[in-house]
Symmetry: C2
Subunit: 233 residues, 2 copies
């Protein structure tokens, strides 16, 4: 009997935004694996901390800090190998994911390596998209409206057309792209409706009008624009 | 002292996908309010059922079955009035929402009526978007990809351009629009990549290739298309 692999969504950061199911699974598995940027704390690991039994086997997936894909691919290869050894012994493993495993989650790299050989269950989590909307008290979508989620890494021309073309826009991975995004939003005259959120649901959470956003944005920051044609009534 | 209003996201349907925070709040409030389509069960109420204390005050928001907005607006007016009477007594109220309160959630109509007068806290929930991706075992987004969420109610031309223009597409509110959506996906040659999911996370959950989708789709069904240019490695 092979063990089962869980892709465990843990939500945006507040340990209380973990689901009842994720808590139960954390108490049942033999090991947890989690991504960790070289030299940093694991964010996913920290969200789950209070729910992880002390005696559990822990598998850090150390991701090198580089834009080059190969070193990261090697890290996922190595982690997949370690996880498979535990699954082969018939023990279950949970891969910890901030947010949702399939929503910009690194779990998909483990999934791609192991899903053909082992039973895998994905536990969805609260994403930072709705956590930011909740923090900003900004309704995102109603009735027949549509939403576009884009990374801030896009080129200005691409950002502009996607922003103009949607009822509601969520710009993720703002970080060092803040100035570029601000400029595009000013050009299309949506700057005053835009809200900046960083560290949603964490003690360090900040919600600001875009014009008051700090000069330097962390990676876990987001800009929301709901065009608000609808009076929500 | 006025009471506090909670917009409580309860996730896609499985009671285990409720967050630890929502469970705690359900045990602390004096009343719960929940939408209920005339003559039906309340889906939000059913998700929360096992967490709601028996003695709690319950406020059904009965939404008439009509496309006309006015009767629904009157129902929200009446519910807002009932909720405010409880808040005025200094007691807290939770509005129950399937999925997430600000993601196609009817809570925004209560929010629009009460947020200027009372303290409101939004508790984000797992949306059906990531619950469907989890059920379909289909990674949605990685790296610099972007996502579009559209309602199936759009006109074919609008559906077509939005589908062609995104890396990953989630089509919600499929229901009676299934045939129209299928035709558009066939025309743009994305039909074979498309996955149909109904009742994600519930015992009745079905995950099918789009071509095997049933003739009649329920309201709570969704079509996912991840174009899969990226090998997820």
């Amino acid at each position: 009997m092979l063990g089962k692999l869980f892709g465990l969504g843990l939500g945006p950061g507040d340990p209380e935004l973990v689901t009842v199911k994720a808590v139960r699974i954390l108490k049942s598995v033999s090991a947890v694996a989690f991504p960790i940027l070289e030299g940093k704390e694991s964010f996913a690991r920290s969200i789950a901390d209070q729910y992880i039994p002390k005696e559990i086997n822990q598998i850090p997936i150390v991701i090198p800090m580089t834009q080059d894909r190969l070193p990261a691919q090697k890290a996922y290869d190595k982690a997949a190998q370690e996880i498979s050894e535990i699954l082969d012994r018939g023990q279950d493993v949970a891969c910890l994911c901030e947010g949702d495993p399939f929503f910009y989650g690194s779990f998909m790299y483990i999934f791609a390596r192991l899903s053909k050989m082992y039973e895998v269950e994905i536990i969805p989590g609260v994403t930072s998209v709705t956590a930011c909307a909740a923090a900003a008290k900004m309704p995102l979508l109603a009735r027949n409206e549509h939403l576009t989620v884009i990374p801030g890494t896009l080129e200005p021309e691409d950002l502009r057309s996607r922003i103009l073309n949607a009822d509601a826009v969520v710009i993720m991975k703002v970080g060092r792209h803040l100035d570029k995004i601000k400029k595009v939003l000013e050009e299309v005259e949506l700057s005053s409706e835009a809200v900046y959120v960083e560290y949603a649901s964490l003690p360090a959470q900040k919600v600001l009008k875009l014009k008051n956003a700090p000069k330097t944005a962390p990676y876990f920051s987001m800009i929301l624009v709901a065009k608000g044609a609808d009076p929500w009534l």
